[in-house]
């Protein structure tokens, strides 16, 4: 069975539910303290939270820890690397994904269910979605306002949309460029998402749309 590491930095707080969602998607998962080696794993997930209390900038200090060198190797080797929320911030800070996540347009923390349109179904994380599919997941962040100098070079995975999949200003909760909610690297094996798929992996919690992302990732790693 393929096995994923869920990296825990001081201040990470979405590790348990992320581990649970990966297991539900059919893989092994293990929470790994950031001082541990990643050598026995087939993929790595950087979960949400407030690593190092968001000191300096969200994700900035975690991105400079030794374990990130190993994460970079995973990325280079084409293995799946997923960053959720604070994990996404770490991946941009580490240079594994382009652009940056700025403070929300209305500068405060916002926890809300949003609709997303799937823009790219060719990545290891989105292969089980239909092109243009509209899905629901919650966001929970203060710094999710995505920016890139040249957005045409960004591989967009999810965009904030309305219920019908229209990409509108009203549907954009944080001011992100082009309503960007999730992006992948050129190769597709590194994905960062501000919405939390692990919080949308249980029908009792309001949606299982996020579980599809983990299923895609597990299936892809298996092959």
């Amino acid at each position: 069975m393929v096995k994923f590491a869920v990296v825990v930095f001081p201040g990470t707080n979405c590790d348990f539910e992320t581990e649970r969602a990966i297991r539900k998607a059919g893989a092994e998962a293990e929470r790994v303290w950031y001082k541990t080696s990643l050598k026995d794993f087939d993929g790595v997930v950087l979960p949400g939270g407030f690593s190092y209390a968001d000191y300096l900038r969200a994700g900035a200090i975690a991105a400079r820890q030794e374990i990130i060198e190993e994460v970079k190797e995973f990325a280079r080797d084409g293995k799946p690397v997923l960053g959720i929320c604070n994990g996404f911030q770490v991946l941009t800070e580490a240079g594994l994904l382009p652009g940056a996540l700025r403070p929300n347009k209305v500068p405060r923390f916002i926890c809300r269910w949003v609709h997303l349109r799937v823009a790219d179904t060719e990545t290891p994380f989105t292969q089980f979605y239909e092109p243009g599919e509209v899905i629901r997941m919650p966001i929970a962040h203060a710094e999710g306002n995505y920016y890139a100098d040249d957005p045409s070079k960004v591989r967009i995975a999810f965009q904030y949309s309305d219920e019908e999949g229209n990409i509108t200003e009203e549907a954009n909760p944080n001011g992100s460029l082009l309503n960007i909610a999730a992006i992948a690297n050129e190769n597709g094996n590194v994905l960062g998402t501000m919405p939390h798929p692990e919080r949308a992996s249980d029908r009792f919690l309001g949606s299982e749309d996020g579980l599809k992302l983990f299923r895609s990732m597990v299936e892809w790693a298996r092959k």
Partner: protein, 713 residues
Amino acid sequence: MFPHEEKLIRERLGREPNEVEKAMLEVMWSEHASYKSSRPFLKLLPTENEHVVLGPGEDAGIVKFDDETWIAVGIESHNHPSAVEPYGGAATGVGGIVRDILCMGARPIALLDPIRFGPLEKERNRYLLQGVVKGIADYGNRIGVPTVGGETEFDESLDNYTLVNVACVGIMRPEHFVHSYVEEAGLKLVLVGNRTGRDGIHGVTFASEELSENAEEEDRSAVQIPDPFTEKLLIEATLEAVYTGKVRALKDLGGGGLTCASSEMAGKKGFGAVIYADRVPLREPNMTPTEVMISESQERMLFAVREEDVEEIGKIFEKYGLEWTVVGEIIKEPRYIVYWKGEKVADLPIDLLTEVPTIEWETRPYSLERDVETPKISFSDAFELVWSSPNVLNKRWVWEQYDHEVQGRTVVKPGRDAAVLKINERYGLAFVADGNPNHSHLNPYHGAMGAVAEVVRNLVSVGAEPLALVDNLNFASPERPEVYWSFAETVRGLADAARAFGLAYVSGNVSFYNEVVDRPIKPTPVVAGLGKVELEKIPGFGLEEGLLIGVVGSTKRELGGSELYVRLGLKGGIAPRVNLEEEKANAEGILEAIRRGLLKAVHDVSKGGIAVALAEMAVLGNTGFTADLSKVPAETSNPLEVAFSESHGRYIVVFPEERLEELKALFRHFAVIGRAGGSGAVFLWNGDELLRKPITKLREVHESFPKLLGEEE
């Protein structure tokens, strides 16, 4: 401390206490730490039943959820510090209650934050609200414990003040339960977490006095500094330590700091403690032994472990980068001894710190209830007034700043009658807090019973069987005879109501001296409740096209303290009475209807009465309705009284027509008042239109809370 107390201490010691001893005694004998004025009454509360594992007396109560799962629960107030420094006060309130849950061996899984302020027209009150919400959000979000609800209310009596209560639940396995007290001598006392500084010096003493006009300048140093980053590490490290099975006792350092934690831990079963105060890691230079002993610096825990286990436990703390020190030990003699650089600086009989004599103040009954004539205003004016009340508006602005989804358990989200947290694949834990100071002000006994009744209705409305209660009693100075009487009446009401439902209080908190410059607050008992719910059975909340709308329970002319009267500035009236028998029968009827799957949606009727309850369900379900209020089972035929009375024991139920007969049979007072559908809210009286409003308009007003803060969104 009062002069007679100082005298008592002198007599007991046969000498004057020295400076260190005096400071420690002052802290431990403060109202906030000792409950000296409240204990005689709190004895009246029921604290035991088949669900209770651990009642009041330790840092949190424990309730049995199933054979493998216990729930720890507690409630706290942080009123005084939040009124002086809203951000730090509210944040450290969250931190404190989370550590109370943690030190039972439980993982904190949810918070509720009932918060109250003065009118938002005043800048100072807006500042307090914004600071408190940001404090709760920054702390709760960073430690990864979801804030899933709590009330946000406003009242002119709270001008320039705030009541910040916070309740927390945690989940644990029975084998991880750790007591707050030791049962053997020789144990080492390990202090772990943040360094000790000069913040929160005399915090409990300050919380046991009225605030003066210059509180903001004078009392800042009594407010602690929040550090959620360390708290999160402390949560993980503490649980890892607890899971070794080698922790003999565990307490957090809160009010009263090291003195309170160590003396209570040692003294409860008759042991003593020696503390080497100079070993405590300090944040600032030149601190005195007195400051070290009573500082309320946050994010600190005190572990009692056997000498041979100290290293193993210490390694766990080091993994998380937490500083730890052996600061003392448990001794057989029941004394409390403090050393400072080899010199004995305090030596007291330990019970002098932990067993504080009670005080019974004078009581003086009062009655504010006067029957007043219901004002003759139009239905539509009354509705506009109540629907636009800050107390009724949607508080999305507040709870969207809280991460209410972290940990992936939040089944029923904020904004409904109660939150539900997933515990296992089949069952969830319902969690809610309620209080109604306007009712309590008019009639403290029925106001308190009403708070319990509302908690029960809110639990039942999400399909939950009530399991247990906790109470937080916010009052002005007990030295005022009227206040002390209202306190006694409140406890009596809480006790009677809980007994009627077969419920017990497993933990609680009392906060006295809530007044600014001689202005006492209204009696504000806040009750939080837990319930167990089958996840598949949770009913909806919003209206759905074509379904029938029914009202359960009887409506009386009970507008005293109602939202309508508050908005009209009417002070009198009769507060709603709780008919315990009917309240209980209706709760059981609703649960039975939910079990049988008869209902599509349920909402309890409380603030704003039937009119508000219906409008809320319409907005949430994005569906209109036509309801004839003359059909409501009522002891009055005045449309205003039927629509806005806040009588207890009532629910709005929404169901398919074919379920009508079966449903009707479950209740004594029940009537179908209309049907859901369309895009407008239509209130009728005997077929004549009272009011017609498009749902879009209702929503616009309902979502307008940010405008009161001068914000667009």
